[in-house]
Amino acid sequence: MTGVSEFVSEAQDIVEAFSRQLLALEAQLRRAEDLDPEALNAAFREVHTLKGLAALTGRKEIVELSDSLESCLDALRLGRRELDQDVLDVCFECVEAFGQLLIAASDARTDGLEMGTLVARLEAIVVVSEGANHEPAPALDWLDESMVGVLTEYEEHRLQENVRRGRAVLCVRARFDLMVIDVGLEALKTKLQECGEVITYLPSSDGTSDDKIEMDILVGSERSEAEFAAVLVDQGVELRLLRAAVPVASASTRTNATGTDIAVEAPAVGQAGAEVPHLHLPSSPASPLGPVLAAGSRAQAVDLGAGIAQGATSNAVASADAMAPALAPELSLRSLSQTVRVDLRRLDLLMNLVGELALVEANLDGLLTKFQQGDEHLEVARDFRDQLRIMNRKLTLLQQAILEVRMVPLGQVFDKLARIVRKISRDSGKDVQLSITGADTELDKRIVEELSDPLMHMVRNAIDHGIETPDERVSLGKPSRGTIELIAYQKGNRVVIELEDDGHGMDWRNIRDAAIRKGTISAEAGQDLSRDQAMNLIFTPGFSTRDEATSVSGRGVGMDVVKTNIARISGMIEIQSVPGKGTQFSITLPVTLAIIQALVIQTADQTFCVPLNSVLESIMVQDRDVSTVEGHAVVSLRGRTLPLVDLAEFFELDRAQPRAQDYVYVVVVGLAQHRIGLVVDDLLGQQDVVIKPLGSALRQMPGIAGATELDANRTVLLLDVGSIVAEALKSPRAGREERGRNAHACN
């Protein structure tokens, strides 16, 4: 059974969502617009869900109240009763009442809450709606019977409502690949909603393949078929007009058909279209004026911001005040649980602000230094310095606190992986156990989110390609149950995640030969490959050691995508494998993304930042120590040859004058096992910087990861070490030409 706090937390979310829908409806009502049927239906569904939830957890009072509210909303969404301010007021009172009931639930109290009067008022609304005049529902005899048969009552009502308004009804038939159905459908839905109201989705099997699905989408629209077709061009869908639009005489938009019956068994009334003229005859005298009057008489209560707290307490209906005694005025909006769900974007914003504050602090510090150079204000300057120090300390604490808010334990992803392991091993007939260590290691929420797909793919791979079947394992002298180990730990300011399986591992020579066979590398290049380089070929696009994809790992997403995804969150991935023993992947990640430590460097009078976590060391090199091997500049560092990349040359920067000194600085950066040295003119220092994304024009520029602000409002570019290393390892000349073209394109 769900725990009380979980129940309260979910119920509160639902009630909040419900009140958001009410606010939206109230706003529409005030502007005398057409009410959005989606909002009304969403409100109904929220209450419906709440009722189910409360019933599960045995909260009788909530069940009772939500049951009455649900009936009331059902009458509204089915058009049996028009939504007016009075009804909305009662709904808002329910929001408050739910709040009180939830407080009581979390305190394990049940005393002193009497919902009887509210329930009675809700029931009165429903009764009124049942007594209302019913306009006969338009017949749906033009619609395919198999379609009518699966519409819910609500969908049928919406369909009739569209007919009543003289809109055309179209059927859009689209085919989707099941793997991408939600993406494809979302795009199509957006298009369709431009044209009208999406009434329902009817999935049907296309019969040819399990991976494809056909979707019939019913849309009601005021547009002509041709206009519709124009919007849907390129969407690869079939469009069928089920019923043509019928022009409506009255331009009145408030035809929300008060008190119409949508009794399902209602016999067809005449010919299709014959019922349309009924449309603008108000069947209830209260219909067009009701909402306007009600809204006017309680003008001060419709402020949206205060809507939840106060919307219901002031009431236009005199008797209502007397009927709502149980709802005490000392309303509190406090959250009932200690956890807060915060939109990550808001945290990002805060994070940026903190970073900018840090800049202000740096600027103040600079000012102070200037200030101190004049002797006369020494006393003031000292006080200033003290205050600055305090501000600095608080700022650091603030930054720390915000970072911590963003931190979530990796266990969140690991739990999902455990489920996947269970499922895939079941599917593939393998016996696999997942051993998890360090689930409490914390990482920035965004990194954890971005990490879940790559990890899932790697786990799938490990089971599908790595771990042998139980029989095979026994014959190899291994325990029949395979093990996947997931280990996470913090190492300095980085987090390392290791994924290790005890399957059959990979032979680097096989990988090399496969790569040559597939043409990923040339045969000559293959001869010179080291073991590590060969292993890394699995990260090359289009590489897969097996020719056929299995249903577990699928086809399409390879290790190259995994690597790209990890690189996107500034991570590195390394692989080690011993044939017969298993494979180990090691992912190294920064703890957070938003603020990073950077090394500020200068070359050809330009300033750049290098993420400090990819810097291994910085050294000073005399020009005479730089040698050339096969046209590449290299330097010998502790007995190892380090290839050099001149940053000014890489970005094709022109120097105003030749370099003065006879030495350069080399920033040694590493990406996985590759190390290269970036040649720069000067090292300016280390600084915490806030990364800002680049605009689309520069996003494709190799070597640049983002921009950041340094002191004195200077914007500098942040280097993307990964792509610089990758470019450098390619044929250097070809890379440069391509980049040159890109740079020109950007200009």
């Binding site: 869900t49 099941l178 009817l202 399990d210």
Partner: protein, 146 residues
């Protein structure tokens, strides 16, 4: 590839006891999913795949042989009725029992759900025993399953 996970009524009654029953659960309330999954996995020897909406259900269906489908009726976009209709069109799950959970679907919704292929209704709220009675009956009883 998934065939080892056959439907539960096997020819061998003893073996049947040891084979887990694979259930697809479609509900947009997390609490409801947790509740049903907890009952089935803890007490009934079922394995439950959970999805929170109709689209995900459409995606899950071709990937496994489900022995039982439990769906909420009232869901946005693809409702339980529409899902049932679709399920009946597929070869893989043409005969799979479908249990619809609903608080109180209107009478017309209920009758349409039945014609669209829903096997049983289960009214919220239900106890663990009520749920297990329905799933066991559909699994082992005469005429249930396949």
């Amino acid at each position: 590839m998934l065939t080892h996970r056959r439907a539960f009524p096997t020819d061998n009654p003893i073996l049947g006891l040891f084979m887990s029953i694979l259930v697809l659960l479609v509900d947009d309330s997390r609490a409801m999913r947790d509740y049903v999954t907890a009952i089935l996995e803890r007490h009934g020897g079922y394995i439950v795949d959970e999805v929170s909406n109709g689209f995900d259900a459409l995606r899950a269906l071709p990937r496994a042989n489900y022995d039982l489908i439990i769906t909420d009726i009232n869901m946005p976009d693809v409702s339980g009725i529409e899902l049932a209709r679709f399920v009946r069109q597929t070869k893989r799950h043409a005969e799979t029992p479908i249990v619809a959970i609903s608080t109180d679907a209107s009478v017309s919704d209920q009758s349409r759900a039945r014609t669209s292929g829903v096997t049983r209704f289960l009214a919220k709220p239900f106890t663990a025993d009520e749920l297990l009675a329905v799933t066991r009956e559909l699994g082992d009883g005469p005429g249930g399953g396949r």
